[in-house]
Symmetry: C2
Subunit: 238 residues, 2 copies
């Protein structure tokens, strides 16, 4: 029998947290094109009483699906240039602000990504501290290592780092969301649908745009399946 | 005489803000080695009642110098690896959280940086929307364009972008601080002391460490001069 020290009590509290049914999830998505199918699927409504500071372009949608409170945030359009605020800085800020305001039980970062030599449609990445073996098995999703960078194209230096770290999928936000989730101790999972093979023959931007609509539909389906799987479960069952 | 429409009143409010004496400044510094001389110079005290969320490594020092409330924040040591939390993500997060909690009139991002072919000791960068001509002239500081990247070394692609954009100084946080300051509408200035010439002969890491102590002393002096200059002035006088 284990001694009942301070460490054990803390461990038991953590275990209890993992055994409570998940009641609130935060979905972080970088692009409007990626976000809207999920918003429509779960009939989420745009926030009329913003939880974010005045003046920021960040957008929150929310609603209830089965027993889950769903919040979906995307960092909105750049105020100067009008394009989607992709990349690590806006992803880290909106994730931080949303965790502070909404205190979710679980974060799902969903989006499109580039793939490396592998032709799997999805890569589901998880932080080392949190894994989802049942979810992966039930939904027949592939697990992969995700690499994140602020450039859509890949420089030879980036490629060398990615290969050295055995990553198979490359996005522009995942590591930023993971950093903030880890900092604030919220479990996070990552659902990435592959738009283009970044080490293939076609130029990345062209291939990306060609595949975006089809891949977004696949992403939408994967997110819906994951949310359905999560409903009624606790963290330790994922 | 100009018509007294809504636009004019808004412009007048902004003008009034710029004519109030600056009462609160936020200094954002990424490395402990860079921060401590400034903390000591202004006899700042470490925060005992943290304004940041529980568990984050971010550190705040504060105090009063002449008529200025000074807050200095640095993102602290990485909780896993124990090294300074350098780079854009932690810089953007700690800047965001500090603006929310402290509502400063002006942000100063100070730190060491790499230089390009120019041998100026300092580059003071400012966002296009805010300039400090009097400060530059009075303190004999050089203005320069700052480029920010998460890598200490520079890849050929980074170098091409930096040259194309006519930047002369390269750091790892400035653009992240500028992004957040712009988002939340707080004027920001950037004081960078050059540690190494990144397109020179010596390897960057070696040159960086050799020069760090000397350059940090120069940075410390520049920050003290800038704070002295700011004291008693309003934004429009900088």
């Amino acid at each position: 029998m284990a001694p009942h020290g301070e460490g054990s009590e803390e461990a038991m509290v953590v275990q209890d947290e993992n055994r409570k049914p998940i009641s609130s999830i935060l979905i972080v998505i970088a692009m409007q094109t990626e976000a809207m199918p999920v918003v429509n699927k779960f009939q989420l409504k745009e926030d009329l009483d913003p939880v974010f500071p005045k003046g920021v372009p960040w957008v929150r949608y929310h609603g209830v699906y089965k027993d889950l409170h769903i919040n979906l945030v995307w960092p909105g359009k750049d105020l100067t240039l009008g394009v989607d605020s992709v990349g690590t800085i806006s992803a880290s800020l909106v994730t931080y602000a949303a965790i502070q305001a909404l205190q979710p039980d679980l974060i799902i970062n969903a989006g499109t990504a580039g793939g490396f030599k592998v032709f799997d449609l999805y890569g589901v990445g998880s932080r080392q501290s949190f894994s989802t073996p049942n979810l992966l098995k039930e939904l027949n999703l592939k697990a992969g290592k995700l690499s994140t960078g602020d450039s859509l194209d890949m420089s030879p230096q980036d490629e060398a780092s990615i290969v050295a770290n055995d990553a198979t999928v490359k996005d522009m936000e995942g590591a930023a969301v993971a950093y903030v989730a880890d900092l604030l101790k919220v479990p996070a999972i990552f659902i990435k649908a592959v738009t283009d093979i970044v080490d293939g023959d076609k130029p990345t931007a062209e291939e990306f745009l060609q595949n975006l609509a089809a891949v977004t539909a696949a992403l939408d389906q994967a997110v819906a399946q994951v949310v359905d799987f999560i409903s009624g479960k606790c963290l330790s069952e994922l």
